[in-house]
Structure formats: structure tokens, C-alpha cells
């Protein structure tokens, strides 16, 4: 079977290694450079690319009008626009604490949306 040589930049950590990926159509055969997590990333990237997503939702009664939120795990890349559309409709109330679950199992992915910080009620 013909093998394909590809360069994939790993975004798992800030090192951003350029991985030298050797694969056939479906499976990754070899990954040059990078660490173990880089191998996982290359495999994932070629079958089901995912990204951590951070955005914000509305909040009432806090110092700021927005609460920053993030996904509990990397989220399927093609569905990010759908996720953002949902977040735009969410509004939460104070108080909120770091890592409080804002949405559960969003879009049936098994991934939750968490608060990125505390936000207390301002008086």
C-alpha cells in the first residue's frame, strides 16, 4: 500500500512540534519528532480533529457582563460553529465558581462547558 508522508504541527502543548507523520489512507504508521501525546494528536487529527474551545456566555449581577467558559475536553472541530451558536443563547446568574458546570453533555458529545473563573454577585 502506498504510504503518505505529512507534516502536522502538534498543538497539544506550547512547544508546537512539527510531527513527521507516515501513514496510509486510514492509519498512522509512524510519527517522527514529538512525544507520546504528539503521537496521539497526530492519530486524532487525521481521523477526528478536536480543539479546546473557549468563549463566553452572558451573566447577570456580576462585575462584568460576560462569564468566560471552556470545554471540559477537546471538542470536535467541525461542530464548533454549532457550539458557539448555543453559547450565544446561554445566560447565567451569579454567583458562579471556577469549573462550575454551565452546560452538560453539549450537543450529545459527552463534553461539558465549565466556568473559567469565579464571579460573585456585586452589591
Amino acid at each position: 500500500m502506498p504510504t503518505i508522508e505529512e507534516k502536522v504541527v502538534c498543538v497539544t502543548c506550547p512547544k508546537g512540534c512539527t510531527l513527521q507523520v507516515t501513514r496510509d489512507v486510514q492509519t498512522v504508521l509512524k510519527v517522527g519528532n514529538g512525544c507520546k501525546r504528539g503521537y496521539e494528536y497526530a492519530r486524532q487529527e487525521l481521523t477526528d480533529p478536536r480543539r479546546m474551545v473557549a468563549s463566553s456566555v452572558r451573566i447577570t449581577g456580576a462585575l462584568h457582563p460576560l462569564l468566560p467558559v471552556y470545554t471540559s475536553a477537546p471538542f470536535p472541530k467541525p461542530r464548533i460553529p454549532e457550539l458557539l451558536a448555543i453559547l450565544r443563547m446561554v445566560e447565567v446568574k451569579t454567583p458562579v465558581t471556577l469549573d462550575q458546570t454551565i452546560l452538560e453533555d453539549v450537543l450529545g458529545t459527552g463534553i461539558n462547558i465549565h466556568a473559567s473563573r469565579d464571579m460573585s454577585k456585586i452589591t
Binding site: P14, G16, C17, M52, S55, H64, P68, Y70
Partner: protein
């Protein structure tokens, strides 16, 4: 809460650098530690950096900026650090007297045994990159746009061009796309990316945002509001290449053209500033030339990883606590560390070899010219090679770190100075 007018240690700024310094000073025996912050809440610039990418080194976790900050804010309160918020420090003297002003407490005078400067950095503005063209509304720094979009909740425009491939610019390109705006182009005058490669991949490539290297803004068009910008290709000397002009319609131009350490207070106190880093000259404990004045974080040099800022803060806090308890220590010999071949700068500027007895010393640097091939990072004493570390490549946008091991104690002690170089393997 009432504030005392005497503290063991006062930290200026509550970003990750300041928080780490305060926590570590407390843990290392400083009695009372005060953090003064001009914003109404602690956390620093991280509060507006809502994207992930923080904490991979310190927590082995990929956290958003506010979450990273929150962990340290909570810890600081737990260990009993005092905070004075919504308070601006106006002056620091070389004998550690601090003048500050606050709406709530008025004019304040505080005497500290040690001071940690942790004021962070600010963005370069249009004036500092001398952009030609009209002066309509709609030209902002990327960080200002970040604050509006992520914290205050309004959009600065609909169609964007971003000048500069710094991390903040690339991160904002993705963020604005998330919020429904169109980013027409990212222009970079250098022949290479100035931010991290991972941000190019996950912020620009993922959303088909076009990056043009060796391009800049030749003209800003528009009367009241930006209507378009004229982009142009440049040669290695940044001269415009005639005939390559292109008009890109847009309503907003964001600048992501670099950060400068914020050192007005440091200068007033007599702290000497390295013209290359634009931050204080520091030793391996992050003490400046003024005894008892330390500095930590982006005020020293612009880091690309907040985790390193935290590490630096921890060291600064520990050194300050030591000084507070034991008084100034006599050092037999201070070894200067110099930037050698293909190294733009190195921090710390000097080190005390005796500190190697306690553990390794971290040395961080930026390369001058990119090398996209395996390199050696070499530490020499004169001609003698003391230590070298392989790296797969060296890029100006990505800081290089090496550790001097305790085993080098005798050789470092005997050296007149160390120099660090980065060369092809």
C-alpha cells in the same frame, strides 16, 4: 479592612508574576505581604485571555487564562496575602518607600523591607510603529480589542485586518471569527511568524485566515472610520516593493506588534534597565541592582508562557523572603551571563554560583536569527564548553530554556563570566 503602613514585602501588580511572588514569600517565611493592584480585581492580563493554553507546564493541564489566575488568587487569599485593589502605585524609592493612591483610601505611604516589581507589560501602539495614513477611528491594539470582546462585551468592528503575527493578534483573529466578524488578513513584516506556531495552526489555519509574511500596512484609508487599508510587500530591509500594493476593505485595523515591559516605576527607583529586554538587569534570584527590589514576570522580559512567569515569581518571592529574614547576604563572586553568538538576550544577567548548591539555575534566552534545523544551546566559560543542550530548532518567537546543574558549581565558580550561544548542530 485597614492597611498597615509597614509591610515585610509589597508586590506591585497582581498578575501571575505578582501572585506567585506573594505566595512564595509567605510560604518562605515573610510575615506580612501586600499586593497592590490598580484594577478592581486581582489576576492581571490573564483575566482577558479567555483562550486555553495556560498551565501546561505548572499544572500539566490546558487551562483558560482566568482559570489559571483563579487558582493563584485563591491560594494567595488562603496563605493570607493582603490585597489593596483599585489602587495605583505612583512612586517607589530606592529605600522601598511606596506612594500609592486609591479612591477608597486616598493617598497612601507604605514602607516595605522588600519590593517586588510585577507590573507586566503594555502593548506597542500605532505611534511606536509609525504607521502612515489618515487617523480615523477603528485602529486599536489587539489587547484593547481583547478586553472589549472578552470582558466588557462589545465588538470593535465587523471586518478586520491585523498587523503583526504576535500571539495576541492571532488569538484575536480566532476570537473575532467566533463572534461573527470576518478577519480579512494578517500581515507580518518579518519573514517569519512572531508568535507561537501552534497559534498559527489553531487560530489562523483552522479558520482559513490568510497570513502574509513580509507584508505591512502602507496606508490607512478612511475619514471618520477606517474604510480600507493599503497593504504592500516589503524586502528584507522593510522597503516597500512597488507594484505589490493591495487595497483591503475593512472597518478595523488591529495592531499586534509587540509588548514592552512597563518600567516607569522601576526607573524612578533607580533600577537599571537592559536596553535589549527593556526590563531590569536581574540576578538569578530576580533581584535588581537596588538591594531589596526584585522583579518578576513580563516586567523583566516578555515571556511567551505564563508558566514561566509563575516560576519566576516563585523565585523572586523566595529570594525576597530570604533577604527579609536574613538581611543582605554577602556574595563572594557574581558571575555575569552574556548573550553570545545568535542570542539576542539572556536572563538572568548575573548569577551567584553558590545558589547552585541549592539546586539548578534556570537560564532563558531568545535567539536572534531563526534556525529551522537541529541546534546546540551552548554555555561557555571563555572557550571552555560547560554545558550544551540539543533543541530541534530555534525560533525568535519561542524562548529557549536551559538549566545549569549543581554539578557545574566548581566550574561556574572559577569562571569570570559565562556566555550562551545557539548554533547549528
Amino acid at each position: 479592612m485597614t492597611f498597615k503602613d509597614r509591610y515585610d514585602m509589597v508586590v506591585i501588580g497582581s498578575g501571575p508574576g505578582g501572585l506567585a511572588a506573594a505566595i512564595s514569600a509567605k510560604k518562605n517565611g515573610a510575615q506580612d505581604v501586600l499586593v497592590i493592584e490598580r484594577d478592581v480585581e486581582p489576576g492581571g492580563i490573564l483575566l482577558q485571555c479567555i483562550h486555553n493554553g495556560f498551565g501546561v507546564e505548572v499544572f500539566k493541564q490546558d487551562l483558560p487564562g482566568p482559570a489559571y489566575a483563579q487558582r493563584f488568587i485563591n491560594e494567595a487569599y488562603q496563605v493570607g496575602v493582603d490585597f489593596l485593589l483599585d489602587t495605583m502605585v505612583l512612586e517607589i524609592t530606592r529605600d522601598h518607600r511606596i506612594t500609592a493612591t486609591s479612591k477608597r483610601y486616598g493617598f497612601l505611604n507604605i514602607q516595605a523591607k522588600a519590593v517586588v516589581l510585577a507590573m507586566g507589560c503594555r502593548e506597542r501602539t500605532r505611534a511606536q510603529v509609525r504607521l502612515p495614513g489618515a487617523r480615523p477611528a477603528g485602529v486599536f491594539t489587539a489587547g484593547t480589542a481583547q478586553r472589549w470582546v472578552n470582558v466588557e462585551g462589545y465588538m470593535p468592528g465587523k471586518n478586520f485586518v491585523i498587523l503583526g503575527s504576535g500571539d495576541i493578534g492571532m488569538i484575536m483573529a480566532r476570537r473575532l471569527t467566533f463572534e461573527g466578524a470576518k478577519v480579512e488578513r494578517v500581515l507580518e513584516v518579518m519573514p517569519y511568524l512572531s508568535g507561537l506556531t501552534r497559534n498559527y495552526v489553531q487560530c489562523l489555519m483552522d479558520y482559513d485566515i490568510q497570513l502574509q509574511l513580509m507584508h505591512t500596512v502602507k496606508n490607512i484609508i478612511g475619514k471618520k472610520r477606517v474604510e480600507a487599508i493599503e497593504a504592500v510587500a516589503v524586502d528584507e530591509k522593510w522597503n516597500y516593493i512597488p507594484g505589490t500594493e493591495e487595497i483591503i476593505p475593512c472597518d478595523t485595523l488591529l495592531l499586534s506588534v509587540g509588548l514592552i515591559p512597563e518600567n516607569e516605576l522601576s526607573r524612578q527607583a533607580g533600577v537599571l534597565i537592559d536596553p535589549v529586554t527593556a526590563g531590569p538587569f536581574v540576578d538569578d534570584g530576580f533581584q535588581t541592582n537596588i538591594p531589596g527590589i526584585f522583579s518578576a514576570g513580563n516586567v523583566v522580559h516578555v515571556y511567551d508562557l505564563v508558566d514561566w512567569v509563575t516560576e519566576a515569581g516563585l523565585i523572586a518571592g523566595k529570594s525576597a523572603a530570604r533577604l527579609i529574614q536574613a538581611g543582605p547576604q554577602k556574595t563572594e563572586k557574581v558571575i555575569p551571563v552574556k548573550a553570545g553568538e545568535n542570542v539576542r538576550y539572556v536572563v538572568p544577567h548575573t548569577l551567584n554560583p553558590d545558589h547552585l548548591i541549592e539546586g539548578e539555575i534556570r537560564v532563558q534566552m531568545r535567539v536572534r536569527q531563526p534556525i529551522e534545523a537541529p541546534v546546540w544551546v551552548e554555555v561557555r566559560s571563555g572557550e571552555r564548553l560547560l554545558h550544551r543542550k540539543p533543541e530541534p530548532y530555534a525560533r525568535p518567537g519561542e524562548m529557549v530554556t536551559i538549566f545549569l546543574k549543581p554539578a557545574l558549581l566548581d566550574e561556574v565558580k572559577a569562571a569570570n563570566g559565562l556566555s550562551v550561544a545557539i548554533a547549528k548542530r
